[in-house]
Amino acid sequence: MQSDSRHGRPGFTRLFPFVLTAVAIAMAAILLLTAVAQTPNSTPNDARGVIRLRVRVKTGETTKGLSRKRFFLIPGTLEQNKALIQTIEQASIVTRDCYYRSIGGSDALIKWLQEGDCESVYCREIEPRDLEGNTAVPEFQRALVAGEKELPSSDLARKWLTVNLPENVREGFYKTRQRELQRLIKQAEDSARAKVLSVMTDTKGTAFFTELPIGTYVISNLLPIESSNTSILWNCEIEVKPGDLAHEKPFLISNVRDRTVKCVGKEKPLPVCEPTKNSGR
């Protein structure tokens, strides 16, 4: 105050330019930060790649594409997903035949599923021959009788037959597998802190993962597939590079080693089913 009065200027006037400068700098900084935050991210992180997966399985003398099987893409390397892979490899498998035996499924039902290589009753149409004669499936026959009581025709009761099947026959196997699958997916996503993608192979055993961020992934089927008398589990590392269309060179995976095969699955004999007291009805 003393000096102010000595120079003939009040304190506020002397400090005013500095206050204004400070405010202006602060405002400029805010504007700059806002502008930076709104600038679209055009870093190379935007680059995307594609994996063309081709799965071939050798059973006996025959090698063929593995159709309609789901494969998963887990972000990270094999090393980074070590704990998950150990869990996958140590998980006990409930095979299709063992599941249906465990719920007391009839021999005819198991044969019907085996004949069509089906996982569930939704796999193919239930036909008149599945309802009468030596090949009749008792579970289907009971469902038909129930359906005929509430639906206008026997034909509709057959076509809508699954609506009268018990839950464990209808979707028990699917749900059992889904529970295990969801547990593994959750573990994978928690570990990778990213979403696990999945695709299903077509009849030729081909599937595409598209729009993939560049990086390293593990391709896995998480739950082993059943092939003849063995189960096969794949856990392989793959690198996705920028602009990788992969349309010419598929990532070939198989259960047998070959120079073109990039990933060989681990094969194990299927577990033997424990017969249940109700089986064979």
Binding site: S3, H7, R14, P17, L20, T21, V23, A24, V50, T59, G60, T62, K64, G65, L66, S67, R68, K69, R70, L113, E115, G116, D117, C118, E119, S120, Y122, C123, R124, E125, E127, E150, L151, P152, S153, L156, K159, W160, T162, V163, N164, E167, R170, E171, Y174, S198, V199, M200, D202, T203, K204, T206, A207, F208, I225, E226, S227, G243, L245, H247
Partner: protein, 375 residues
């Protein structure tokens, strides 16, 4: 030093002030602007408050229009709808919701509107005319009315549910020689290798179109009218769902919200929309398993955002292969020669005159170009 410092600070106040004047002017203007903005914002908020306080005349309600989003209409679906409706045997081959709710559903709340005058407008929700002498109703559901729900359908779950364990051997039991088969969309034994077995696949819902699609509003682009073989059908009734979901298997037929989700009212797009209008599903060379080209469908958990998911690589396996055909590369070269060239092999001109996407250039092994950059 002390004196010097003191001078530099305030020895010549007028010259120091004039030196900083432009900066002070800018900063001052900024601050004045800021104060003005705050004042205007405050004034506008006050005006809005005043506006809110003004007595509001209630808008006239149009009772001839029914909305499922009205608060009191958002109860359980079966409060009003019956499943199946009493008329289902006359109009359907299966138990279905085949009619509007009965009068009781409306009268329970709208007694006043229901008995208002000789021609109550509330009747027009379901009836063609508001008259006690004419009880005709719209077809259920009225295709002309806006849809108030979207459908939730997880393709991925359904793909899993119909999945087969593994394919049978391609060797025949009798000869032991490989058998050549052709995969089809149809639900028939020909679809897979096992004779006489009808496997469930995409055809359950997407079959051959019996008739050509109708033209869109404004007609077909380039007068190109696609035939029935161009597209596959989509489900239009509960028949495709109730065969599995009628009861037991959730979401069951009485759980309407299991599949129908409230949506902004919308009229279904008339006609078909497709980028490659000239692709025909039923062409012999195009007959394959759906997921061979629709590569993303098996991971689609919802219909929302579902768009054509066929990448160019599905086409160029045949249409851009050396020694076979070079349809993509040839049209890109045609654009090099004439930037106004319209790609017509797959597209109609509304698409064909646009810049080819980078994926097309990539597949032809070239750098992507924009038409405007071509000399």
């Amino acid at each position: 030093m002390k004196e010097q410092r003191s001078k530099s600070h305030s020895g010549n106040p007028s010259s120091s002030f004039s030196g900083k004047f432009p900066m002070l002017l800018v900063v001052g203007a900024f601050l004045v602007g800021l104060v003005l903005m705050l004042l205007i914002g405050n004034l506008s908020a006050t005006a809005q408050t005043r506006k809110r306080r003004r007595p509001v005349t209630p808008a006239r309600i149009d009772y001839s229009k029914f909305s499922h989003t009205t608060e009191k209409h958002r109860g359980e679906c079966l409060t009003c709808h019956k499943n199946p409706t009493p008329n289902w045997r006359r109009v359907r081959e299966y138990p279905d919701v085949a009619d509007y709710p009965g009068h009781a559903a409306c009268v329970s709340c709208h007694r006043q509107q229901f008995f208002k005058g000789a021609n109550p407008e509330v009747c027009l929700v379901c009836h063609l005319k508001s008259s006690p002498r004419d009880d005709r109703r719209y077809f259920f559901r009225n295709a002309a009315s806006a849809r108030q729900f979207s459908i939730e359908f997880p393709h991925d779950k359904h793909q899993d549910a119909i999945a087969r364990w593994r394919r049978p051997s391609v060797q025949t039991a009798t000869t032991g020689r490989p058998r050549f088969t052709k995969a089809l969309f149809s639900i028939s034994s020909a679809g897979f290798d096992s004779p006489g077995k009808a496997y469930n696949n995409c055809t359950i819902c997407h079959s051959e179109q019996p008739t050509p699609p109708g033209p869109p509003a404004g007609g077909w682009v380039d007068s190109f009218s696609p035939d029935a073989a161009t597209f596959k059908s989509v489900p239009v009734s509960h028949a495709s769902c109730f065969n599995c979901h009628w009861k037991s298997q959730p979401p069951i037929s009485t759980d309407c919200a299991g599949c129908h989700k409230n949506a902004t009212p919308h009229i279904s797009a008339s006609g078909v929309q497709r980028i490659s209008m000239k692709f025909r599903h039923a062409r012999e060379q195009h007959v394959a398993e759906c997921t061979t080209c629709h590569i993303n469908i098996t991971k689609s958990a919802t219909l929302r955002g579902l768009k054509p998911d066929v990448p160019i690589t599905s086409c160029t396996e045949c249409h851009n292969k050396d020694g076979l055909r070079l349809d993509v590369a040839k049209e890109l070269e045609a654009i090099d020669r004439n930037k106004d060239f319209v790609c017509v092999y797959c597209h109609t001109s509304n698409i064909g005159r646009q810049d080819p996407p980078a994926s097309h250039y990539l597949i032809a092994g070239r750098e992507a170009l924009k038409r405007k950059d071509i000399k």
